[in-house]
Symmetry: C2
Subunit: 375 residues, 2 copies
């Protein structure tokens, strides 16, 4: 069972630095988890990720279930050996992709019936099946199947989805204990749409089920940024201090800084990897689009102060050339930088908390990054 220790609390916000252990090693929080959808963080090797300092990856249960499938991964006794990653892995439940990517055909108490986005084949994902697949992946942190709703959603729909999510959380937990002996760790997910009272109820009922850690789901689904922060705030405040708190699928560098201030410990987001493939870089002074003609003859690195392989070895002109020519190396070098940026941001945040200067860090971050003030 995962034990989470708070190493240091920020005196001016709810930010905290902590640490937890898994069978595959220790994770220092706040932590960013690069997204490795199909058993690879797109364009990066495990060695690249180690070099960037990744502590823990996220794998997508929906994608891995469809390709390569459990039969293949079972031959390797889990995802770690299959993909050559020896550090911790967290897997989602598959729920979010079923509601966003697959063609959903029915949701009832039994689970969600969907058609694969690849070949149209039909599948049922139940809370028990999601736990089985994640047990096969042998992830260090598994997530309960939750029912995701679109934004906007009326209160009845949000409340119904919340009820079902709690019911499924109970079933996931029982199945995980009875069928899988409680191996690794299972986290519960807070839902409740954009309704503060539902968010609070969601936390209360999840705490009754009892998990070693909790995630805040259903954010960054199209709502205004202020509403996202409000829902995160309500959810995070209600969660117990002694357990790790994971905000799913959020967000920009600024979002992460703010969510840490609200008490979040763990993050994942496709922005660094996806935007890299679209030629957008994150730097400490904001984003930079490498397509811009002004970089054609630019001999400087992306970010003079960055220590990633890309910044230590290549110029903006070269990166622009590779990207404009659609060279495969562009995707790797771009992704390396952005993933390094996000991981380094989390490291800097953690260091600032440990050294009791998180408030100064936060102010300095916005001054440099040039985004709107903290909410």
């Amino acid at each position: 069972m995962l034990s989470y220790t708070i190493t240091k609390k920020c005196p001016h916000s709810r930010a905290r630095a902590g640490v937890f252990n898994t069978r595959h090693g220790t994770v220092n929080t706040p932590v960013f988890m690069p997204v490795g959808t199909l058993g690879t963080v797109k364009a990066l090797s495990p060695e690249d990720l180690m070099t960037c300092g990744a502590q823990i990856l996220l794998g997508n249960t929906y994608h891995l279930y469809l390709r390569p499938g459990c039969e293949v991964i079972d031959r390797f006794s889990g995802l770690h050996r299959f993909m050559g990653w020896e550090r911790p892995i967290l897997t989602d439940s598959g729920g979010f992709q079923i509601f966003s990517l697959a063609k959903l055909t029915a949701v009832d108490d039994a689970g969600a019936t969907f058609q694969s986005h690849i070949d149209g084949s039909r599948h049922l994902l139940s809370p028990e099946r999601s736990a089985d697949i994640q047990a096969c992946l042998d992830s260090d942190i598994m997530m309960c199947l939750d029912q995701c709703i679109p934004y906007p959603a009326d209160k009845t729909a949000a409340s119904d989805a919340l009820d079902r999510t709690i019911q499924w959380a109970n079933r996931c937990r029982n199945h995980w204990l009875n069928r899988h002996g409680g191996k690794n760790n299972l986290f519960g997910i807070v839902q409740g749409g954009m309704y503060p009272d539902l968010r609070r109820r969601s936390v209360e009922e999840l705490l009754q089920v009892d998990f070693p850690g909790y995630a805040v789901g259903g954010l960054s689904v199209g709502e205004p940024k202020d509403l996202m922060f409000e829902m995160a705030d309500v959810s995070l405040q209600a969660l117990p201090e002694q357990k790790p708190r994971y905000v799913m699928g959020v967000g920009t560098p600024g979002d992460i800084v703010e969510l840490v201030a609200l008490g979040a410990d763990m993050f994942d987001c496709v922005l660094p990897t996806r935007n890299a493939r679209n030629g957008q870089f994150f730097t400490r002074t904001g984003t930079l689009n490498i397509c811009n003609a002004k970089y054609r003859l630019d001999r400087h690195p992306l970010d003079e102060q960055c220590n990633c392989y890309t910044c230590r070895n290549f110029s903006r002109a070269y990166l622009r050339h590779l990207y404009m020519a659609k060279e495969l190396l562009a995707y790797r070098l771009n992704t390396l930088h952005n993933v390094y940026y996000y991981l380094d941001l989390a490291r800097q945040i953690r260091e600032a908390i440990l050294e009791e200067r998180f408030s100064e860090f936060r102010t300095g971050f916005y001054r440099q990054y040039g985004q709107r003030k903290a909410p």
Copy 2:
């Protein structure tokens, strides 16, 4: 000026092991040069290439002239700093791509007028212009512009193209000496189609011009394998022993073993990189197509004896999964293996020559690789 030293000659064939120096370091021959068309060996970083043991890369003048263009590369004082590669570079003349890839509009004594395959813009590549571009790239070995002909070609066409190639070789050399002070090294190219007497005449006339090294061009253009070996044999035999001999654009692993036996020292070919992107691997027991369903659950590395990053860390099942899912990492891992294979083959050939066991190596190579006997 490049000085080539023969370290060891095989007593049973014309194979030899040698060494030459350039401003960017030493090259041990026989050597395979990975193809870095657009300032990158597709999918690999300079660090990857160092790890594979690449001694020298090939850059394509035609491609680099069009993208990013000389103005950009000039800012970096050449291709080495632009792409972050500190070891030697050889560039071709651009001739082959003009005759194969661009829309050729006219060839006369002045040069070749062509339309870019990217945007249709018109350009004239003359012998002098080719030398200028290569001087801007600052390649350690530059090639003279030659006129390439299709296969089959009648003798008059082959003879005319040969005459023009010699005339251009003279102009290239004069321009290189007068305009560029003879910096780096300029190689001449043997042409003559599939006519042994023209091949011999081509060598004789090139020797009158005098170059620090010679290449055999116009091979692997669709002719039967036996004819390719016959033309290579005639050309290589006629070339002086004291100068390095480069067979352009050839070939399979078996071709390289045979051409070494015929006295060739340098090779380049897109097979390892291009086939990697098509899921075909070179292994010591022959080629392997990773799409094959039989690898779906295969936990073995591609090649148990291979020391590349891919073989040391990943299974066939994982490589198949990445490739079938079109994951970007597939292209890098596949290319890493194939480039390592070719570089390692050249290293093994060299070692065998140095240890006076090249004949045994050659026999053993075919026994394992399972291809037809040597010609």
